[in-house]
């Protein structure tokens, strides 16, 4: 199945799953945010990062340990 950025199902279903209510204006904002964020999120998920262990508690004041 191909990924989709269609918000029609995802947004109402997602909000309903949490029991979160949203009025029409809020839904319009959420749809706009979803249109902006979802395509790059799908690209991010497609990245092969299997060999990249995330730094555990990285010290962001310093370069990473080698």
């Amino acid at each position: 199945m191909e990924a989709s950025n269609t918000a029609d199902d995802f947004i109402p279903a997602g909000l309903a799953a949490y029991g979160i209510e949203a009025d029409e204006i809020e839904l319009a904002v959420i749809r706009a945010a979803h249109q902006t964020f979802w395509p790059p999120i799908l690209e991010l998920l497609a990245l092969d990062t299997s060999g990249v262990p995330a730094e555990r508690n990285p010290d962001l004041s310093r370069p990473p340990r080698r």
Binding site: I25, E26, A28, P40, L44, L45, S61
Partner: protein, 455 residues
């Protein structure tokens, strides 16, 4: 006394220390100027003259003795909880001694007002706030930048000579760029952070100075860091530039000014410009947004989201609710991108001293419609700005925004980024750019000051 307000931060401190300026008179002059100029700008959302006078009366000798400062509505004060530019915050807040407050107090500074900010710190524009938006002194119909909108507008209009902001995703550098100031985002963890409502959970937010030039940022920054940011000669600086959206999908006049400034910096220091590659940059932008958003989720419950203060903007309400729909797997991937970007940067900083690109790709957009026209088309200012602002927050490196030109009568700015802990190099390099262009842009005066310079 009002002319003393036009001095630099260093100048005010020196004039007070030398007995040429009475700090009590300077404080009253600052309050009068805020009363006169602020209604058109909405930069300062709270003053507390008695508290300020008490602070001055108790001020110890120090590098900022008697100097008025504005602090962003993101930091609690002993007499006032921060509101974060919003009708409602999800995190608990209370009055208290934040790290920046303590640093300022111990340096002898006088907090004269609280600076406006974008609601919940959620935009690079400053166009939404529970107080109404702050306005850009270069054009009050334009965005001042965000989220540290009020601190930037206050300094640009010279209500004060220095202000303290906070930078979670570019929030000091964007308003510095839009308002023609110098704004320093410290290395993560180097500047005072205690008392921030996200101090224990955020991996991106830092406090930092907004001033007219690098020397003033060095002075106020040293106070916030709790250590002297020593001035040095940058020597031959190796400047890395990156091809791609961050430097090329940029308004032509902004691109030209920034390229010229990069050449100036290379020439001034006897350095050189090199092309470098940072393949993680596009993913790093999204990764920063995902991480920053996930770090505030701990304060969210569905119940609270169903009872948000109706005074919170519809955009604020909608974005808070959208955060819960962001998938956890994306945040895990974002952490991996952070690791990759940090390793790549560590390698790059063996070959270059600085990485340079425009702070923002276009000048301040209208408050009514914060959109920018770029070669690729029309984008929201936030979409466009985050491309250049996020990397430093994701990876922890320091960055500075330096005014380097003008387009449509509005400031243009270059961002410099350096390796972890090399904050002083950024200030040295910013000063080299100022020397190279004869301080043309740090000394430029916005119309709101020119019209009322004698006020």
């Amino acid at each position: 006394m009002s002319e003393a307000l036009n001095l630099s931060l260093q100048g005010q401190a020196a004039a007070i220390a030398g007995g040429d300026v009475d700090p009590a008179e300077l404080l009253e002059a600052a309050l009068e100027r805020i009363a006169a100029r602020n209604p058109a700008l909405n930069a300062v959302v709270a003053t507390f003259p008695e508290r300020s006078r008490e602070m001055l009366a108790a001020a110890p000798p120090g590098p900022l003795h008697g100097v008025p400062i504005v602090i962003k509505d993101e930091w609690p004060l002993p007499w006032r909880a921060q509101r974060f530019g919003a009708a409602e915050m999800l995190a608990p807040t209370a009055p208290g001694e934040s790290g920046p407050y303590r640093a300022l107090r111990d340096a002898g500074a006088v907090i004269v007002g609280v600076g406006n900010m974008h609601e919940l710190g959620a935009s690079s524009t400053g166009s939404i706030s529970v107080y109404g938006p702050a306005r850009n002194p270069w054009d009050p119909e334009r965005c001042p930048g965000g989220s540290s909108s009020g601190p930037a507008a206050a300094v640009a209009a010279r209500l004060v000579a220095g202000a303290v902001g906070a930078d979670g995703i570019g929030s000091i550098r964007y308003p510095a760029a839009y308002c023609g100031l110098t704004g320093l985002k410290p290395t993560f963890g180097r500047a005072a952070m205690a008392g921030h409502h996200m101090a224990d959970v955020s991996s991106t937010i830092v406090s930092g100075p907004l001033c007219t030039d690098a020397a003033d940022c060095r002075l106020l920054g040293s106070v916030l860091y709790g250590e002297e940011l020593r001035k040095g000669e940058p020597g031959p600086v190796r400047i890395g530039i990156i091809r791609g959206d961050v430097s090329e999908d940029v308004a032509p006049e902004v691109r030209a000014a920034c390229e010229a400034a990069i050449e100036d910096l290379g020439r001034e220091t006897g350095g050189e410009v090199r092309e470098i590659e940072l393949p993680e940059l596009p993913a790093a932008t999204l990764a920063t947004v995902l991480i920053a958003n996930s770090e505030s989720l701990g304060d969210i419950t569905p119940e609270r989201l169903n009872h948000l203060d109706p005074e919170l903007s519809p955009i604020g309400r909608g974005l808070l609710k959208y955060r819960v729909l962001l998938p956890a797997i994306a945040t895990i991937k974002a952490q991996q991108v952070r690791t990759l970007a940090r390793h790549t940067l560590a390698r790059l900083f063996e070959d270059v001293d600085l990485i340079a690109w425009p702070t923002v790709p276009a000048v301040a957009p209208p408050l009514e419609a914060p959109l920018v026209e770029l070669p690729s088309g029309t984008l929201t200012a936030d979409e466009a700005n985050v491309r250049g602002g996020a990397l430093a927050n994701l990876t922890g490196i320091p960055a500075i925004s330096v005014p380097v030109g003008s387009s449509q009568g509005l400031p243009v700015a270059l961002q410099l980024q350096a390796a972890w802990g090399r904050d002083e190099l950024l200030l040295d390099a910013a000063e080299a750019i100022e020397r190279a262009n004869g301080r043309s842009w740090v000394d430029a005066v916005p119309p709101v000051r020119a019209e009322t310079l004698e006020a």
